[in-house]
């Protein structure tokens, strides 16, 4: 099912209008996105950026202040949550603690007045899909975090929703389980073909499983696209900063005569007009060269096996340290702390110093 969001806005009113007239919070501001049918879409952003609010508005638990939500061609903006045909997995799963796993999964079906036998059969089918058919008789408190999460997904899927919504589905799991579960979510989504929207603040998580990624900041959509596209072509400084681990290095610089200067050194060429800019360089964009264009003052080197991470300082850097990742095979001179690098042109981004928009 295709989801269309048109000019969606959510304003939470000020709690005390007399004391604090300007206390209203715009959680989502004029959001317009289109989510194609059968895709896995991630809403990504730092906490407080309105991604969960968007999700709850999609689910019907929150009502938008203005704007429209369309499922296919049907306007569901004012439709009650239970009539939208959606499945929602909560951040802390919200499994009913007094019911067994089976009762939990069957609960939506019971409410739809489906006969008991059929409901049981469907619950079992769904449990098989998420591989928890052995745990049907247990109570949620007797399950591990990962298992609880599967139960929550099963409960959301059992009524065969048109749209599956996941609110930070992996945030309560440990690192290893998180990796495993995100593959699971991807697999389940592919097997069922349900349009899925999920919310996360973890860019790695979003990049690894999303078909489409929506990056948000303070209620405003910054960029929409495939994860790789966004990573390679960030629309602005915020997106560039938010994506990638280790994060991108930002330098103050300027453009003069088609050359990008960081400090006194010309590090790259560009077609941008002469102006002050922020220069973003991805950590993997540094190539060691004894006569490189850019000099870094090395602080220390972290060895990570596959590659090594050079932590260094630079006077123009906006962050305390500059991080560059180079292949572990590259031999670095040990006698000096000044190393010079060339920059890969496709890993260098220029941003307007005031608007922070990308310059191309």
């Amino acid at each position: 099912m295709k989801i269309t969001i048109q000019n969606l806005t959510k304003i939470f009113p000020s709690r005390n209008k007399k004391k604090d007239p300007n206390g209203a919070v715009t959680a989502v501001n004029d959001m317009c996105i289109e989510i194609p049918s059968g895709k896995l879409v991630g809403l990504l952003g730092p906490s407080g950026c309105g991604k969960s609010t968007t999700l709850f508005m999609l689910s019907g638990l929150e009502t938008p202040t203005s704007g429209k939500i369309l499922f296919d061609e049907q306007d569901v903006t004012s439709l009650a949550a239970e009539r939208r045909g959606i499945g929602l997995v909560f951040q802390n799963y919200a499994l009913y603690p007094h019911m067994t796993v089976e009762q939990n999964i069957m609960f939506p079906l019971v409410n739809m007045r489906i006969p008991k036998n059929e409901a049981k059969a469907r619950a079992l089918d769904t449990a098989r899909l998420v591989q928890i058919e052995d745990l049907m008789a247990r109570k949620p408190s007797e399950l591990s975090g990962g298992q609880q999460q599967r139960v929550a997904i099963a409960r959301a899927l059992v009524k065969m929703p048109n749209v599956l919504l996941l609110d930070e589905p992996l945030s309560n799991l440990d690192a290893r389980l998180r990796l495993q579960t995100r593959e699971e979510i991807k697999r389940i989504q592919r097997e069922t073909g349900i349009t899925t929207v999920f919310v996360t603040h973890d860019q790695e998580e979003a990049m690894s499983i999303c078909d489409t990624m929506v990056v948000m900041k303070l209620g405003i959509v910054q960029q929409i696209g495939e994860p790789q596209t966004i990573y390679d072509n960030p629309a602005n400084l915020f997106v560039a900063n938010f994506l990638g681990t280790p994060p991108i290095n930002i330098f103050k610089g300027h453009v003069k005569d088609g050359k990008v200067y960081i400090g006194e050194e010309a590090v790259a060429t560009t077609k941008v007009e002469d102006q002050d800019v922020f220069v973003g360089v991805r950590p993997e964009g540094f190539v060691y060269n004894a006569k490189g264009a850019m000099t870094l003052d090395v602080d220390h080197i972290e060895v990570m096996g596959r590659d090594k991470s050079i932590v260094s300082r630079h006077t123009s850097s906006t962050k305390p340290y500059v991080r560059s990742i180079i292949d572990s095979d590259v031999k670095l001179p040990t006698d000096t702390t000044k190393l010079t690098f060339n920059l890969k042109p496709n890993k260098v981004f220029l941003f307007n110093a005031e608007t922070e928009e990308r310059l191309r």
């Binding site: 638990l61 949550a81 239970e82 909560f90 919200a94 009913y96 603690p97 409410n111 109570k139 408190s141």
Partner: protein, 439 residues
């Protein structure tokens, strides 16, 4: 030279000591091993038995077997405890015996470190300091709770007990028999009447008020404006004296009758008249009743008065407890239920109620306990005579009569009977709530 000699002498002595110690160690180890093997054997036997019993009955052992297993296990635990306790002493004793032959070693007492009494006492006090803190409460409890309970258990069995002279006429169950048969020669309420009254009041008013409290607190939880105000209003009866409340209720239900005409003044009769109902003498001499037997009448109009009173006076505490329980339920469950398409009814009975079921069970248990002890409400509504000819008597009222008339033996026996009745209901309650109260 002399020094070295001395040194060698002390060395020898040390060697001796070491040997001794090692010997004693070996001995104690042996004894320990023996004790352990003994225990192990016993356990094995028990295990075999258990295994056998398990073979015969497939899943659950029968009640008899459970009891048997319990006793066997307890016996084993006791054995193990004593084995542990005596192990050290035995080891020491045996070591001393073996050393008896050795003259040198006999002079050297077996090294068993014994700290001065002061130190040991200090350490003991520090380790047990928790007891010191609860001591005042424990002492008071002993004087005012445990001693009276104990003395009730004892004196209930003294026949013709005189509470002033403490004279009695042998031991036996006569008190109980007479209390149960209402054959006490003191007149007043009868046992059957009081028991029926108490049980009816309790088992109608407690579930009713809990249900009402649940509905009110759910309603209270779902409104935002004036929530605090309503909370205060609902809690007010809790602050009111029950005798005063009784007086107010008595006024609600009054009716004034003169030989020539009937004048309704009470609230309930006035409302009833609006709907065309005949005024009822709710609480007076002419109150309608069903006569079951010589010992038992059912004054149903008075029952209604009492039940309304008890429900109303029981509500505030129950609302307070249930409301706070509701507020601690995570809101996400309601969101989840909404997404799952649950109706409001389903949410209330399938989500909310199970979530706060521990609190509901608590209210039912304590409510039934309190209901069985009901007395003040009756006195407040009907005076000390508890209705006409004691037809509204409760168990506690029945017991109080004996106390007031100086028949302490009957009062003790009555208390124990009431205790047993409450015990039975509480056990049933616990059994049910274990099955029903989840998570």
């Amino acid at each position: 030279m002399a020094k070295t000699k001395k040194n060698t002498a002390t060395d020898e002595m040390q060697v001796d000591l070491q040997q001794q110690e090692s010997a004693s160690k070996i001995m104690s180890e042996k004894i320990e091993a023996a004790a352990e093997s003994m225990i192990a054997e016993e356990n094995a036997v028990v295990n075999d038995e258990v295994a056998k019993t398990e073979e015969t009955s497939f899943k659950k052992p029968s009640v008899g077997e459970q009891i048997k297993n319990f006793f066997v296990n307890t016996w084993n635990k006791i054995k193990r405890f004593f084995a542990k306790l005596f192990k050290k002493d035995k080891a020491v004793a045996q070591v001393q015996q073996t050393d008896g032959a050795d003259a040198v070693a006999a002079k050297q007492p077996v090294v068993e470190e014994k700290l001065p009494f002061k130190v040991r006492f200090g350490r003991f006090c520090k380790a047990q300091s928790g007891w010191l803190f609860v001591l005042p409460a424990v002492v008071l409890m002993c004087i005012f709770t445990f001693y009276p309970i104990g003395s009730a258990f004892v004196n209930a069995f003294k026949q013709d007990y005189n509470s002033i002279s403490h004279e009695y006429n042998g031991w036996g169950f006569a008190n109980f028999a007479r209390v149960l048969k209402s054959d006490t020669g003191t007149g007043g309420a009868t046992f059957v009447q009081c028991l029926v009254n108490t049980v009816v009041f309790t088992f109608i008013s407690v579930p009713l008020s809990t249900l009402l409290a649940l509905l009110i607190s759910v309603a209270l939880n779902s409104i935002k404006p004036l929530q605090k105000a309503y909370q205060t209003i609902f809690f007010l009866p809790y602050l009111t004296n029950s005798l005063a409340m009784g007086a107010v209720f008595a006024t609600f239900f009054t009716i004034i009758q003169t030989p020539n005409n009937v004048e309704t003044v009470g609230l309930f009769n006035t409302i009833g008249e609006l709907f065309g109902l005949q005024p009822i003498d709710w609480m007076g001499m002419a109150s309608p009743k069903w006569v079951i037997s010589d010992n038992l009448v059912i004054p149903w109009a008075k029952y209604i008065v009492v039940i309304i009173y008890e429900v109303w006076s029981g509500l505030p505490f129950k609302i307070l407890i249930l409301f706070s329980a509701l507020q601690s339920v995570n809101k996400q469950y309601y969101d989840a239920a909404k997404i799952d398409g649950a109706s409001k009814n389903t949410v209330l009975w399938k989500i909310t109620t199970p979530m706060i079921s521990p609190m509901i069970s608590y209210l039912l248990v304590t409510g039934i306990m309190g209901g069985m002890k009901q007395y003040t409400a009756i006195v407040g509504l009907f005076g000390e005579q508890m209705g006409i000819n004691y037809d509204m008597g409760t168990m506690v009222g029945y017991i109080y009569q004996f106390k007031d008339n100086g028949y302490m033996g009957y009062a003790y026996a009555g208390s124990l009977i009431l205790f047993a009745i409450i015990m039975v209901f509480t056990v049933i309650n616990r059994y049910v709530s274990k099955k029903k109260v989840s998570y």
